[in-house]
């Protein structure tokens, strides 16, 4: 399924051509989108020739699939690991993950878009492998969040739909990013996350069996 391992050669001075192409494409697809990135753009920035690209990939869409696979493989080491460094509590981890996206938004002056989400909405007629690769990314992301929810154990109501809730975290992230980007204002993301936070607070409160004195704090 995956391409054969890179021979048994010692580490090249610079990354092998195939990797440079994928890395460059990843960057450009994120910055300019898939459709607005020409093969020539990738070639120039990667310092390669068209023949090399078409030696490794049958076409542009296959390059995209490779990019999506690299994203998927990077979720754990590049996204979750740094976001969760020093954060043990499973529910805190969820909001630490969202905080990570917040960083992305502010550090790009609110132009940030989730690379997967943007591609998912940009590409209207994806090859099946492309669509599956995007779905695999969402699935891996959601699965990680779902593990947090499982780890939260009985702090959440017993019969709750943990898969649905994990997807809802993704929903919040994607919707919040979209609005922050469109309005060029992080506050839209922050308000979405605040709503999700409130959702979690209420869910955790709900686990109490007996009605307790309503300990209401200001919301917002």
């Amino acid at each position: 399924m995956r391409p054969a391992p890179r021979k048994l050669a010692v580490a090249d001075p610079q990354p092998a051509t195939r990797d440079r192409l994928v890395l460059t494409a990843m960057k450009l697809f994120w910055e300019k989108g898939y459709g607005s990135t020409s093969v020539a753009d990738v070639l120039r920035e990667a310092g390669a020739n068209s023949g090399s690209l078409y030696h490794f990939f049958p076409g542009k869409q296959d390059l995209l699939v490779a990019v999506l696979e690299m994203y998927r493989d990077g979720i754990e080491p590049m996204l979750l690991a740094p976001a969760w460094k020093g954060v043990a509590d499973p529910i805190d981890r969820i909001f630490a993950l969202l905080a990570r996206y917040r960083q992305g938004i502010v550090s790009t002056d609110c132009v940030y878009g989730c690379p997967i989400g943007s591609l998912a909405l940009e590409i209207h007629e994806p090859d099946p492998p492309v669509r599956e690769a995007m779905a695999a990314n969402f699935h891996a992301w959601v699965a990680a969040v779902q593990e947090c929810l499982e780890a939260a154990g009985d702090r959440l109501p017993a019969g709750i739909d943990r898969r649905g809730l994990a997807e809802f975290v993704l929903t919040t992230m994607e919707g919040g990013v979209m609005q922050a980007r469109t309005h060029r204002d992080v506050a839209y993301f922050d308000r979405a996350v605040a709503q999700l936070k409130e959702h979690f607070v209420m869910l955790q409160r709900k686990t109490r069996v007996a009605p307790i004195k309503s300990n209401r704090r200001k919301a917002g």
Copy 2:
């Protein structure tokens, strides 16, 4: 600000060229995206010549702005009015609106994308007028939902951030649509809406000062 009214001529046999162009562009941008729709596509489908298009619009982006303005003007009559026909309760109206999007998803075999959301993520370097027109669409949508929330009065907690909650409804819709589309499965949208429903149920429960017998109806 808006283009001058269509002369004082009697109704043309077919819509005036400008309108045909905008309508066709609206359809094609939605079906194939902005970048993948060529000016020639619009021309062919609208039955017009390039000179006509460039007589009315300086360029493709300006055509897009006209499309976005038409969406914005259509939110009330084309989206809200039919969705809310026969639905009086303000909170029910919110879920009636979401049900409308659900229709869109199933009737397009889960290829549906919110036209505004898709454009918002597809276009990476929009002219300022384009970005503003997209933001105006989101704003009008959120404002309508927010009115429902205001109308819900004290059924929601007093100090609640109604604007944030209205935006959260949009967040849920956009995130749910994105996932349903990517996985080609409405269930992702349904689960997102179910989570939002639960959020509203908990919010409403929260307003009760004293614990009352919970008159719970099934959510979904």
